[in-house]
Amino acid sequence: MSIAVAQVRRDFLVAFRARADAVHPVAFFALTVVLFGLSMGPDRQAMGELAPGMVWVLALLATMMGTDTLFRRDFEDGTLEQLLLHGRPLFVAVLAKLFAHWCVTGLVLTALSPLAGLMLQVPAEGLPALAGSLALGTPALTLIGAIAAALTVGLGRGGMLAAVIALPLFVPVLIFGAGASLAAASGASPAAEFLWLGALLAAALTLAPFAVGLALRVSQEY
C-alpha cells in the first residue's frame, strides 16, 4: 500500500511543480469550448441541441491529450525503468499514478463541465447528467488512454499515435456518455446509459492496470 501512497504523493508534487503542465488539459478544454462557440455562426438554438455531445467530445480530447504525457516524461528521464524494476505489484503503482493523474485532469474537467455546457447553450436540465456522465466517463477514458500511452511511450512520437490507437476504444464510452447527456437535455431518462457507463468503468478499472503494466514492459524494448 505504501507504494501507492508514495506514488500518488510524488505525482501530485510533480503536478504542483509543473503547474502549467497540469492545468493544460483543463485550459485546452476551456479554449476549445470557446472556439466552438466562436465557429458556430448565429444559430444558438441548434447549438444547444448538439452541445452535450460537443462538450463530451471536447472533454474526451482533453483527457486524451493529458494521458499522452502520463508516462512520456517518466520514460525520458528514466524513472519509468526504475518503476518497472522494483519488483512489487506493478498494477498498484500504475493505479496510483492514474488516480493522481485523473484528479488533476478528469476531475477538474467534470467540475468545469456545467460552465462549458452553459457557454455552449446546453439546456439547464441537461447539466447534472452532463457532469454525472463525465464523472463516470473520464476515469474510464483515462484508464483506456493510459494503455495507448504506455504502448507508444518509447517511440518519441507526439501524442498522435496514442490518439489513433486509443480513439476506437474510447468510442463506447463516448456513445454512452454523450447519449446520457443528450437524453437528459431533451428530457428523457438517462438511467440506462448511466448503467452502461458504470459497467464500462468497472471493466476498465479491472483490466487496464494490468494491460498498462504489460504495455510498459513491452515498450521498454523498442
Binding site: 455562426g41 448565429p42 444559430d43 444558438r44 438554438q45 441548434a46
Partner: protein
C-alpha cells in the same frame, strides 16, 4: 556583397513585399461588407434563404408591436425606413431596450409566408447617453423645429 548583408537585404525585401500584400488585401476586404446579417431589403426581395437559420436586422416600426393576450408571444415589424419591412414573431423575454424605433438584431428562420420566426432578439444600443429630461427636450426640438 557579403553573406550577412545579402541575408539582411533578402529579409528586408521579403518584409516589404509581405506588408504590401497584407495592406492591399485588408483595404480590399474593408470595402467588401461582411454579411453578418440580412437587411430588410434582402428579406423582402427574396435574396435571403427560406427555412435555414439566419440573422436579420432593422428598426422596430413605431406602432407595429402587438403582444399576445396570453403568454410571452409578440409580433412586430422591422424596417429600414426606406420602404422595406417585414413582420417578426418572437416568443420569450425581450431585452429592456426593446422599444419602437430601436435597432434590433433577430435570429431565426424565414417561413414560407415571409414572417421571420425569431428565437432570439438582441437590442443594439448606440453611443448616446443622456438624462430623460434632456432626451425629452431633444425629442421636442426634433418634433417642432
Amino acid at each position: 556583397m557579403n553573406r550577412a548583408r545579402r541575408g539582411r537585404l533578402a529579409a528586408a525585401v521579403f518584409l516589404l513585399a509581405g506588408t504590401a500584400a497584407t495592406v492591399a488585401l485588408v483595404l480590399v476586404a474593408l470595402n467588401e461588407n461582411i454579411n453578418a446579417f440580412h437587411p430588410p431589403e434582402r428579406i423582402v426581395n427574396g435574396t435571403a434563404p427560406v427555412g435555414t437559420t439566419i440573422r436579420a436586422g432593422g428598426m422596430v416600426t413605431p406602432g407595429s408591436v402587438s403582444r399576445d393576450a396570453e403568454g410571452l408571444g409578440v409580433t412586430f415589424v422591422l424596417s429600414d425606413f426606406q420602404g422595406s419591412d417585414f413582420p417578426v414573431r418572437f416568443v420569450g423575454i425581450l431585452p429592456d431596450l426593446f422599444r419602437e424605433g430601436q435597432g434590433i438584431l433577430v435570429t431565426g428562420q424565414l417561413d414560407a409566408g415571409g414572417t421571420f420566426m425569431a428565437h432570439e432578439v438582441l437590442a443594439k444600443h448606440d453611443e448616446n447617453y443622456m438624462p430623460p429630461e434632456i432626451a425629452d427636450l431633444a425629442a421636442h426640438q426634433a418634433a417642432d423645429p
